[in-house]
């Protein structure tokens, strides 16, 4: 394992901004929004101090942030932005255009509840609203992962077989503003890892003029969508390659799924983001009492790790899915996807859906225990959505 030279206590926002500093993108266009703001502030300071060569565009809205990075990435630049919540929602239209134009933009997202009423705290409704936009979605549990995944996102998105934009999700405030211990790579190691960009069809190659964004009618639009579907199919393989390379330089191992105590687990809980850590701790507590419990946290939510989950969940007693977002009039997004994946496993586990933490509501160990206890007593109903930490 490589020696840790640079261990710091920093906020998730600092960790992400530091990853951006090491990436040294050609262009960053960003607009501040709580709780992403410190990412932009730290990075703007790097620009002001000349420690990066990045040209920064202080745009007048998130819509323009995404529009400008689309322009910059199409031009041939390595381009990044960052956002949260309403900002991401404002970008929505162009989020799709970035993906369909196959521009490998990397965008850290400090996950926050979408209005209304307005709320600045963590939940996953912002990213979930973009889950079908054609972006790869990586999800970090803590500041360390937010840093690591931001670096890996560059290589993943820019890979020849992928060429898709990547959203790096980390929980607003909990991770973005919380101070944690992060081991940073040396600048040179990080820079070597992300490598030089290799743009495809750069607009500024004026000797070979290309046309971006034509009117694509029914005779070709479908074919272009099929290409996007295909690109997503390569993501898990490429992520594995990128993660293996990253492990060599960091000693930190990433896979499609983060698995904790699942080898003999009869009861498995699935969650995204920082809550997975609290679940791991709860698993330790319950294991001490003799319960065979474990937790799976998808590092990648889009593309959805269906096959991997099928293999791991087949034959377990129960699967409990925690969602930090609701899907009004339908099942919560992570639960829906997991449930659908379990349709054709040979031995279906019991399954239950728990929505928690909307608008930053704290998720406590007792809540997690309660959901596990429901599973222990066989009290799970696949068609019932339950709520943790809600006054009923």
């Amino acid at each position: 394992m490589p020696e840790v030279k640079n261990r710091q206590a920093v906020t998730g926002a600092q960790a992400v901004a530091n990853a951006m500093r090491q990436i040294n993108p050609d262009v960053v266009a960003a607009y501040p929004i709580t709780p992403q703001t410190p990412v932009v502030e730290y990075f703007a300071q790097y620009v002001a101090d000349g420690v990066v060569e990045t040209e920064m565009i202080p745009v007048e809205s998130e819509h323009s942030a995404m529009s400008a990075v689309v322009g910059a990435a199409a031009a041939g630049a390595r381009a990044m932005t960052a956002t949260a919540a309403n900002g991401l929602a404002l970008m929505h239209e162009i989020v799709y255009i970035a993906a369909s134009s196959r521009l490998p933009i990397v965008m850290p997202v400090a996950n926050r509840a979408l209005s209304g009423p307005i709320n600045i705290h963590c939940d996953h409704s912002d990213a979930m609203a973009e889950r079908d936009s054609g972006w790869i979605q990586l999800w970090a549990e803590n500041a360390q992962e937010a840093y690591d995944l931001t670096l890996m996102a560059i290589k993943l998105g820019e890979h020849e077989d992928v060429r898709l934009p990547v959203m790096v999700n980390f929980d607003g405030f909990i991770i973005s503003h919380g101070v944690e211990v992060v081991d940073f790579l040396d600048d040179e190691v990080a820079k070597k890892f992300v490598g030089e960009p290799n743009p495809k069809y750069p607009l500024l190659d004026v000797e070979n003029p290309v046309t971006y964004g034509p009117l694509d009618l029914y005779d070709y639009y479908f074919e272009h969508k099929r290409q996007q579907i295909e690109a997503m199919k390569h993501v898990k393989r490429v992520f594995k390659e990128v993660a293996e390379e990253f492990e060599k330089i960091s000693g930190r191992k990433y896979e499609v799924l983060d698995k904790y105590m699942i080898d003999d687990a009869e009861y498995i809980m699935i969650a995204l983001g920082s809550t997975a850590g609290t679940i791991k701790y709860t698993v330790d507590l319950l294991r001490e009492q003799g319960h065979k419990v474990g937790v799976i946290k998808p590092w990648i939510f889009r593309p959805f790790p269906k096959k991997e989950l099928q293999e791991l969940l087949d034959g377990r007693k129960a699967v409990i899915v925690l969602d930090r977002a609701a899907s009004f009039g339908a099942e919560a997004p992570l639960y829906e996807a997991v449930k659908s994946a379990l349709y054709n496993v040979s031995s279906k586990p019991l399954i239950g859906s728990y929505v928690y933490g909307l608008g930053g509501r704290d998720i406590k160990i007792e809540h997690i225990k309660k959901a596990f206890e429901d599973a222990f007593s066989g009290d799970l109903n696949p068609d019932e959505e339950r709520y943790l930490g809600l006054r009923e």
Binding site: D26, V27, A29, E53, T54, E55, I57, P58, V59, E60, S61, H63, S64, A65, S67, A68, V69, V70, G71, A72, A73, A74, A75, G76, A77, A79, E93, I94, I97, P199, P202, L203, L204, D205, V206, E207, P209, V210, T211, Y212, G213, P214, L215, D216, L217, D219, Y220
Partner: protein, 325 residues
Amino acid sequence: MALNIMQLATMFADKNPGITQGHRLCPGCAAPNVAKFALMTAQSLGYTPVVGLATGCLEVSTTIYPFTAWNVPYIHNAFENVGATISGVETAYRALAKKGRIVDPNKKYAFFAFAGDGGTYDIGLQSLSGAVERGHKFIYIVYDNEGYMNTGNQRSGSTPAGSQTTTQPVGKKLPGKVQLKKNIVEIMAGHENVYVATVSTSEPMDFFKKIEKALEFDGPAFIAAFSPCVRFWRVNDDKAVDISKLAIETGYWPLYEVERGVYRITKKVKELKPVIEFIKAQGRFRNLLKRSDADEIIGELQEYITRRWERLQILEEATKDKPIR
């Protein structure tokens, strides 16, 4: 250097000026000429154009996959964001030039953004304003056909009072659009360090000169190009230039420029023709003319045009040799 038509024809006799044949704009449309005039000027002065387009007629009709009627780098992103998109392209240019990647150091790049009035006066105004405020070096050209003509003549902030549109039609009860056209030139001139001008294809020399100024200006430029839509203005296919001339002669579309706050009228009209001549020449005002309150509405427009013309002359005199910065 003042460009002339013979020189340009010689230069572009056997090559396309950025935009090419095979586009699917309506016969007689003014928009391709707006693009052609601008891009010919840039190239004849040694610039390499890179163009961004907002969704609209010019965009839709020139790039129907797998066909593109452009032989220069072209990007369309969405309707409301060509200002931001070209900001990104222009910024990438600076970043890549600095790092010695992709950009050819021996070329002078010129960044153009084209948008209709919908993408400029209405939905794209924020993106345009932001890009100009940030001072990106680009030339934004609105081909102003006074409505959402791409989708069949819906009202925009540029549609004049009395013009028939499908979203603010003349009805039994309501008189159609009564609001005056938004004065986009003054809005854009309100930004600092910007070159702003109006142009018309019916005055090509003035058009070329202003593009040249815009190219050489140290900052963003905004050019409003009068761009008749022969189809929805309900005039014959061959009338785009005639209508443009009438617009200038009546003072409906004054040709002027504002450079760092200094106003200059570039086409002096000794005596303005009455605006009714401009109105009567177009079918889009037919319903207005049938109304009992037509004289009132046209009278208001005439009053506005007369005052604006006077005001421009006062501004020209008052700001002469007094740039704001």
